[in-house]
Symmetry: C2
Subunit: 154 residues, 2 copies
Amino acid sequence: MKNLIPCRFHVEVEAVLKSEGLRATKQRLDIWDELSSTDKHRDIETILRDLKKNKINVSRATLYRTIDVFVKHDLLTKITLDNGRFLYEHNKKTITPKHDHILCEDCGEIFEFYDNTISSIENRIAEDLNIKLTKRVHQLSGKCIDGKCNHSRN
Amino acid sequence: MKNLIPCRFHVEVEAVLKSEGLRATKQRLDIWDELSSTDKHRDIETILRDLKKNKINVSRATLYRTIDVFVKHDLLTKITLDNGRFLYEHNKKTITPKHDHILCEDCGEIFEFYDNTISSIENRIAEDLNIKLTKRVHQLSGKCIDGKCNHSRN
DNA sequence: CTGAGTGCAAAAGATTTGCAGGCAC
DNA sequence: GTGCCTGCAAATCTTTTGCACTCAG
C-alpha cells in the first residue's frame, strides 16, 4: 500500500519532469528519492551503492543518464573535484542555493561557503572581457592546522 | 652538432631535476622543451600531437609519467576543467605565478586573472575552519555578451 | 655497472552507446 | 499503440601498471 502514496519528493520531481516533457519513470523517481534523502555530496559509485543498500535496483547506465537529466534541469549540481572526479548534490531549497566548497583533506568533510564579494569580483572580471558567466568552479581544500582535525565529531 | 648544445629550457629543467635527484633523460628534456615552448593551455592529447609534429617520439605512458613529475615539482600547473579533463601550463617566470582562468565558450580562448581580495577571503574562510589551504580551483566560463566575440582577432 | 626511466601492451576505471524489450502516457 | 526509457553488454576513452629492456650517472 505504501508504494501507492507518492512521497513529497516524488511529487516535486514529477512536476519538473512533466513540465520538461520527460516521463516520470519509477527509476527516475527512485533515484530522486535517494539523491534528495541526504545533503551529503556523493559520487556515482556511492549513489549506486546506496541505492542497492535500499533495495532499489537501477542499472548503472540508467543512473548516469538520469543524473544527466537532473543536472541539465537543475535539480542536481555537479561538482568537479580537482582530481577530475564528480560529486553530486541535490538542489532542494534546504540547501544554500549557490555556494562553493572547501574540503578537509584530513577527515574528508566538505563544507560549503558563499561570499558575495567574490561573486561581484567574478562578475566584474567577466564583464571586462565582455563575457556573461554561465559556469563557475571554485573549490578549496587543505589540511588542518597543527594536524588536529576536530571537524568530524567522533 | 646542434644537439650537443643544450637549449636554455634544457638547462633550466635539468637543474630542477638534478636538485630533486631525478635523471635528466632525453625524454624529459624534450617534453619540457615542448611544454615550455608556448603559453597555451593544452591537454595530454594535444601535447602528444605537438610532440609528434616536431618529430619528438615519446610514448604516451612516458608523457603521463613525466607530466606527473613536472606537476609534482612545480614546473607545471595542472588545471582541472569542469568536464573533469585536465589542461597543463608551464610555470616559467614569463607567466603570472599564481592565477585563475576564465574561458570564453565562444572562441575557446582562456584568459588569466588574479585578484588579491579573493585570495584573502579564501584564506579567511579556511582559517575559520582551522584549515591550511593546500589546493584551490577557481575557474569561470561564459559566453560573449550579444553573441559578439571579439577575443580571437581573426 | 645499477637501478631509475622508458616503451609496449595489457589492465583498469569511468562513462557512453547500440539495441532489443518494457512501460508511461 | 507509440516511442521514450531501461537494462545489458559491448565499446570508448583516459589513465595506470607490469615487465623486459635501456641508458644516465
